[in-house]
Amino acid sequence: MNFPILSSLILLPSIGALFLFFTKSNKENNFSVKYVALFTSLVNFLLSIYLWILFDQTTSEFQFVEERVWIENFINYKVGVDGISILFILLTTFITPLCIISVNNSIKNRLSEFLIAVLIMETFMIGVFCSLDLVVFYLFFEAGLIPMFLIIGIWGGTRRVYSAFKFFLYTLLGSVLMLVAIISIYWITGTTDVVQLYELGIDTKYQNLLWLAFFSSFAVKTPMWPVHTWLPDAHVEAPTAGSVLLAAILLKMAGYGFIRFSIGLFPIASEIFTPLIYVLSLIAIIFTSFIALMQEDMKKLIAYSSVAHMGFVTLGIFTIQQQGIEGSIIQMISHGLVAAALFLCVGVVYDRMHSRLIDTYGGIVSIIPKYSVLFMVFTLSALGLPGTSGFVGEFLILMAAFKDNFLVAVIASLGVIIGAAYMLWLYKRVIFGKLINTDLKKMLDLNKSEMVILTSLTVPTLFFGFYPEPLINTIEVSIRDLIEAYNIKIASKI
């Protein structure tokens, strides 16, 4: 490996941010500031596509591994990707440019600082997905709090301070236990290198506590019921681009963490705690779906639907079957695209009417037809209509769940129905019906940049709905070997 492609992916956005930092921001050059950021993130996207092309799908070994001594005799800076992580990197680099385009309408002041925060955020997110050392992972995982806190707090809505604090403190509280666990792992095994830990295994008697410590962090981040309450607040108050980053990528860090660390490192404990995850996931699916049904604020509704969707993800991961985990990853990717798109859709009407309440709207189908069509695509994908990417994930997860536990699968399937109910009802109330609010008549249809963003999200949503092969091919081998290793470890009680 000559060219450090992963480190470049991690560093490039930061370099862009540094460049922006030294460019004096004023009203006239907002334009160019935005293009610098967009250019940086697009280059990063192309680089990640290149990575995907080079990626060897036939092996579950970590690829493009870079290793450098960081703290002597203690931590190595080690990054690498396998089938599981590469898709998340692609998702991150794909969503970030869209976020940057979307600031056109929503961010009025301190644009260059906002873009810096987004780019720094991208650095940390990519870092999370490719770090192969627990400490490095923790570093990226936690560091993401700083830019997100600022994004919510500075550019957010009316209750932004409360939401930003809640987001920060909830996540920090969850994560500190993970730090204890990571250091303990170092003292138990003598390394924090994930690859070595996969081989060494961790003594059974420690696994339960360590698993719980990791769980506390991931559960908050996922978020699972009952620690999900920060998410609706954060989503509602964050600016559109912030909500998109939060829903599309930040939540996926936890799902990724479950697969990479909880299952990979603590198989025995994962086996023991699977019922706990099932119960919490089912509560998340059913309970938060009902809550979503009752929401009057569009962003809040989508936020609760995110919790429900992530419930499917955790359920699928802990079936520990090929379809289950594949389904979970595809569900995460699809949710990343769809939730991002839905938040952007809400952002579009919010920019025009400055209201997120469902009551404000109704009957706008004839006024903004293009918007209505695209919004419909994402609504249908969110409820898992066949032919959209949402379907593939949910279907695979339910299939695996039926194999594992019939009752769990039945209850989860009920969640799909409620999910369809709230999404369709949302769509009906916003788009169809009588046009009562006459202000709505002045609404303009999608402008060019919004069109670009939403179309570029529609394409993969539909494409992977009909043809999920590229995704499945990428992850298949890695997951197969992960499960194999898991079963071997369970059998030999390591």
């Binding site: 001594v69 960081w70 703290i71 002597e72 600082e113 400490v135 923790y138 570093l139 936690e142 560091a143 709090l145 700083i146 806190f149 600022l150 707090g153 500075i154 932004r160 301070v161 930003a164 604090f165 920060f168 403190l169 920090l172 509280l173 500190v176 236990l177 730090l179 204890v180 250091i183 303990s184 170092y186 003292w187």
Partner: protein, 472 residues
């Protein structure tokens, strides 16, 4: 008399103090000159210490009452550099309060001398002598703005409480002398038999005295009032420099003569540590004055440093020293920001005055943001690594309770740091502050911010330096 050159730094600085005193008496309006000369003295002393003693292995002088080793040399250099920086950035502040007098640098020099003696002490009497020299200078420094009632109150309060704690400490020393027949650390360590429970009283009294000096809970009562009342530059000195010396004495005292009694003092240290971490985090939440807030935050930070000491291992000591070094850098940045909050020669120190700072002074508030996140221990900033090493060494000894309480209190503490950031970034702006700051003030802010921000690039450097400290 052998090896006088090894105590040359101390001799140099005491001669310097005398010279400056005489100069101050005979030359009118010499405060600027004396200020500059004392800066040079501090720097020269640091260089001498670096050249003469840093490479030495443990050497004991004067009937084993003074010890020169890597720990003492390193800590002396840190003390000197910190004092140097405090002195450089305080001149403009003192001028605008009209207390730019010759006594200020001389008092700082003499307290530094006291600290250097403390750091090198290998004997209870020598240690006490150093302690009193530094404390007496600090009392005067606290009241330095004597026309202000708050400053006088601070000094008086500090004096009374500190004298009480010194009394306790002396009583502890006398107990130890009574049971071991010596004040020398090495002799004590040989004479020690762990069945002498009364000896534990001696240790407890000395620990109380030391805990008072570094303001660990429950002996912290003086800190908020004194920090608030003293002139800001003196507060900066209080938060940074005496803590280094006190921490060194803590290490020396616990790990040389009383290492065998670790069972006796470990519990005390764990208690002090937990109480300080929790109290520092909780009590800071309600504060309105920035200097009071810093006082509580420093109480919390002392708790973390003590957690490292409580482990009873070399790694623990090293992590404490790393912690205090990084803490000093962060504090320097924090106070540089405080000293920049000036409008028409009036310094503002309420938290509300920070409001909307980010709109008026984007760079200043960005630095403060970085420093505050670092104080809160959020990666990838230096403060995180400081805590990380502490918890690494704490967990090595399987002290899970201490680690978990410590980490949970970082979450509580994060709340009040976030509150400051919220006020800076999310609230409405006030009038602008003045921007014509001294070059040193700007330098120390920029340097500390960059060090904090980029610490993660070369985290090994500091560890390499500190890992040469082997006490046990």
């Amino acid at each position: 008399m052998q090896n006088l050159e090894l105590v040359f730094p101390e001799i140099f600085i005491s001669l310097g103090i005398m010279f400056l005193l005489i100069l101050g008496v005979f030359k009118k309006n010499s405060s600027k000159l004396i200020h500059n000369i004392s800066l040079v003295f501090l720097l020269i002393t640091a260089v001498i210490t670096f050249n003469e003693t840093l490479s030495l292995n443990k050497i004991k002088l004067f009937n084993n009452s003074i010890i020169i080793d890597y720990l003492s040399s390193f800590m002396k250099i840190v003390t000197l550099v910190a004092a140097f920086l405090v002195l450089t950035i305080s001149s403009n502040y003192l001028k605008s309060l009209k207390i730019f007098k010759i006594e200020y640098p001389i008092l700082i020099l003499s307290s530094v001398l006291g600290m250097m003696i403390m750091i090198s002490s290998n004997d209870l009497i020598v240690f006490y002598m150093g302690l009193e020299l530094q404390s007496l200078s600090l009392y005067v420094l606290a009241t330095f703005n004597r026309d202000q009632i708050k400053s006088s109150e601070a000094g008086l309060k500090y004096f009374v409480l500190s004298a009480l704690s010194s009394g306790l400490l002396l009583y502890g020393c006398s107990l130890i002398y009574g049971f071991t027949g010596s004040t020398n650390f090495d002799v004590i360590s040989n004479q020690l038999s762990s069945n002498e429970y009364a000896l534990t009283f001696g240790i407890v009294f000395i620990l109380v005295g030391l805990a008072f000096k570094i303001s660990a809970v429950p002996f912290h009562m003086w800190a908020p009032d004194v920090y608030e009342g003293s002139p800001t530059s003196v507060t900066l000195f209080f938060t940074m420099v005496p803590k280094i010396a006190a921490l060194t004495v803590f290490i020396r005292f616990l790990y040389v003569p009383f290492l065998n009694l670790i069972d006796q003092w470990q519990m005390i240290l764990i208690f002090l540590s937990i109480a300080s971490m929790l109290f520092g985090a909780v009590a800071a939440i309600g504060q309105k004055n920035l200097k009071r807030l810093v006082a509580y935050s420093s109480i919390g930070h002392v708790g973390y440093a003590l957690a490292g000491l409580a482990t009873g291992s070399n790694e623990g000591i090293q992590s404490s020293i790393i912690y205090i070094t990084i803490y000093i850098i962060m504090n320097l940045g924090l106070f540089s920001c405080l000293l920049m909050m000036r409008r028409n020669d009036v310094y503002y120190e309420e938290i509300e005055d920070l409001s909307g700072l980010s709109k008026n002074h984007p760079l200043l508030s960005l630095s403060l943001l970085i420093i505050l996140f670092s104080l809160a221990g959020i990666p990838p900033l230096a403060g995180f690594f400081a805590k990380f090493y502490i918890f690494k060494s704490v967990l090595e000894q399987s002290m899970f309770f201490l680690a978990i309480v410590g980490l949970l209190s970082t979450v509580v503490a994060a709340f009040y740091y976030l509150r400051l950031i919220k006020i800076m970034y999310f609230d409405k702006e006030h009038e602008k502050f003045d921007t014509d700051h001294g070059i040193w003030l700007k330098f120390s802010l920029i340097a500390s911010t960059i060090l904090i921000l980029l610490y993660f690039v070369f985290p090994s450097q500091l560890i390499d330096i500190v890992s040469k400290i082997n006490i046990i």
